[in-house]
Symmetry: C2
Subunit: 487 residues, 2 copies
């Protein structure tokens, strides 16, 4: 036959051939031109090339690929949609990337026991879309929910605007199937065993940023849609009034489903972005507040919220009059990070958490950091749970400005840690905040955690170099030896 | 001076003297007659004598006592109020018991950030009593809450009637100070850092049944009292109608604060106990249902609950007319276990969890287990979250009856595991359910967990012999060697 279809051949080294044998020849990328889009994730400041990307279609293929890598001492890591903001999926050591993109099925839904089982590559928003017709939804709603995967959400313990009332990802995970770093497959609370005894491995794995295993199946809790929902938009001339309104609403005993805040620079960005809604440009703060629950109770809570806003000198406050109006407000908020592209060539988003009562003080600190660095900082954040997102605007084409932005970001996190807060609420540590872990953990505490990693990941081939700094004790020892040698 | 006060002297071995030097001479028990009340906890079927009991007054004293035990290879364990129901505080290996009874202070309350810091020996109910005047409470409410300690609640990840809506202990713990098994002190989320990054050590420690460390300070979440609260009591002729009503209420989208069930034998017990309220004796099931939240929404939910009960052929249903009446219903329920003493010389309480939808099937199974064993089984339980408490009534004076009761208890747990449930919801594994861990975990899964214990407790001196069975693989190896030797 003259034009016989040429069989695709793997022309790389023996590892490419072996991995292709596991996942299939059409399910591996290994040429440089194919790998470039895998050199970073949503954290674009650092880039590093993988050795290959494989796309397994089943738990068994994941396990076989992992086993092969482990036996051949090839570093590897898992990747979902690559929307992570702290660099957790960046192949620092030339890893083989195990992409879960082809494992994207909704496996089952059990409405009676309010559970669904999904593969890790299943997109977050698709779950809600798949069960909405029966009146159910999946609560964790990161802003990237239309594209991020539930597997990635588990790795990062993702949050979202509605986590104030409903909790973050870990509060909604009932069971996991996990491929360990040696290729062994374990089930944790298979099919969502309620309250499994023993140590809380479910909690331990969730948010472990891909360093303890690769999740291949997830049982999640699904919730019945609240009976009613109302959304309020409030504009404040003074940022401080907005901050105090946040505290006042919570103090009044209301737990809104969401309580979001944006400052003046953020408003400038979202109004220049894809979903402008006509916010006034001369206010210092806006609050987006959503209340849901039993219909009969909502009006009363809205009244209380309006009262609090008025006491805090609100310029204008309005309740969404239709689902369409509500949808527009949320689209404006949820695409907020990306919208910064309209007012700045680059931006770096940070993710600190503070006790709610320290909001006015820390916003003041961030404003000072902005002045000192000479960079504008926008704030779009989950005010209700004290989860700040300073967006540092910079221009990477100007020499030194990237470094300035990184330094300002670190200063913002230090400000959070100094008031008893944390350096990440939902974006994770990844490679971005490794050194900042020292702001809140002692060497002993870091050591206890790295020892746990050793249990699951003894060779440290799985997602190496993420999450934990090298304990400074070790570095001190080196310094001491060096100094001793010099004397 | 003729009658000089005689100084108390430690007349035991050198370890007694050394421990007395750490905690003080009046803070150690070591004579047999003083130790007898420490030979078991709420699980009274197994007894074992401790070497000594020490009563440290500070974290430093706990750390020093632990360090001493570790250095001298003396097994040790922590004890709160000793109300645990699975034997977690029983000194199986002649342990030194580190009692937290003297560390019982409420250290601070931060209403603005909704946190309180307590010592581990602080009694659960005292926290709510201490903050009630400001309109706040602490949610986890085990039936023993008037005496059990928050430290013990952390160890067992205690639940309670109101955990259906508010979650168990782990959902309310914001920070821990822990003495590790070598005497090192670590802080996890010191002062309740929100969303601390890294592995979820807070979740790992909570519910680890005293095998990973000794908790010496606890930061807990406190909640604002709900605006309104209503309580319903419903009597059903048929147990199955009661079970279906439970599912129907949840399916209607209502999440009651509590949804408790009692069967006929249980009603006989509570009505013969200290707090009878006049339940009819000829019904097969009663439901105690509480709804709380925004006042305006409650009436509507109560209407819906009454409707569901009627559809399920309820004989009588009533709403509590006063806080006093509500209090009586709850006292009747919360003292239910102890009340069994009025109708049986002994009882063994079990603690299984099932998917809510399997309630009718599993109650049927338990009834068959009762018939087969010839022992009566009462059921008082958290129906809303599928957490069953079969109370097996027996008489330990009749030879063989204790063994029969234990066997029936195991059969109940097997029935729970077989429908995809768990062997403990809130009482823990302790020594009672060690072998039953195999109903739900494979050897690999048990091994992963014991490896985590090794990280925190490498010498296994801390609460040895609890929580995990010896992996059966090891036993198999022994058997194989033995058989090989015999051939």
């Amino acid at each position: 036959m003259l034009f016989a279809k040429k069989k695709k051949k793997i022309d790389g080294d023996k590892h490419y051939v072996s991995l292709a044998n596991i996942v299939g020849e059409t399910a591996i990328l290994y040429k440089k031109e194919d790998l470039v889009s895998y050199d970073c994730d949503g954290f674009t400041i650092h880039k590093s090339m993988p050795k290959a990307v494989v796309f397994p279609k089943s738990t068994e293929e994941v396990a076989a690929a992992v086993k092969y890598c482990a036996e051949n001492k090839i570093p590897f890591l898992a990747r979902g949609a690559g929307t992570g903001l702290s660099g957790g999926a960046i192949p620092l050591n030339g890893e083989v990337i195990i992409s879960l993109a082809k494992m994207k099925q909704l496996l089952s839904v059990d409405f009676e026991n309010r559970q669904a089982v999904v593969q890790p590559g299943f997109v977050n928003l698709k779950l809600t879309n798949s069960i909405a017709n029966k009146g159910y939804y999946y609560a964790p709603d990161p802003s990237s929910q239309y594209v991020c995967t539930i597997g990635g959400n588990v790795a990062e313990n993702a949050g979202g605007a509605h986590c104030l009332k409903y909790g973050v990802t870990t509060n909604h995970i009932l069971g996991l199937e996990v491929v360990l770093s040696n290729g062994e497959i374990i089930e944790i609370s298979e099919n969502g065993i309620p309250d499994a005894p023993g140590y809380d491995l479910l909690g331990l794995l969730t948010g472990s940023e891909g360093t303890l295993g690769i999740v291949t199946k997830i049982t999640v809790r699904i919730l019945k849609n609240p009976e009613g929902k109302q959304t309020v938009l409030a504009y404040f001339d003074k940022a401080e009034d907005g901050s105090h309104a946040v505290s006042d609403i919570i103090s009044a005993g209301i737990v809104p489903a969401a309580l979001e805040m944006m400052d003046k620079t953020a408003i400038e960005g979202v109004e220049a972005g894809t979903y402008p809604v006509g916010h006034p440009r001369d206010i210092e703060a806006l609050l987006l507040i959503e209340v849901d629950g039993v219909a009969a109770g909502i009006d009363e809570q809205i009244e209380e919220i309006l009262k609090v806003c008025k006491q805090r000198n609100v310029r204008e406050v309005k309740v969404a009059e239709s689902e369409e109006e509500r949808g527009k407000w949320w689209a404006n908020r949820k695409t907020g990070f990306g919208a910064m592209g309209a007012i700045s060539p680059d931006y770096l988003v940070q993710d600190g958490v503070i006790p709610r009562s320290r909001l006015p003080k820390v916003l003041q600190n961030i404003s000072e950091i902005s002045k000192e660095s000479g960079l504008r900082i926008a704030n779009i954040f989950h005010a209700g749970d004290g989860n700040l997102h300073p967006l540092i605007l910079f221009d990477s084409r100007i020499p030194g400005e990237t470094e300035k932005a990184v330094k300002a970001g670190t200063a913002c996190l230090k400000a959070c840690a100094d008031v008893g807060g944390s350096i990440t609420g939902e974006h994770g540590v990844g490679i971005e905040k490794i050194e900042e872990m020292r702001f809140i953990f002692t060497d002993e505490e870091l050591e206890a955690q790295t020892k746990i990693r050793e249990v699951f990941n003894p060779e440290n081939l799985l997602n190496k170099g993420k999450l934990f700094p090298t304990p400074s004790r070790c570095m001190d020892v080196k310094k001491v030896i060096k100094e001793a040698a010099a004397n």
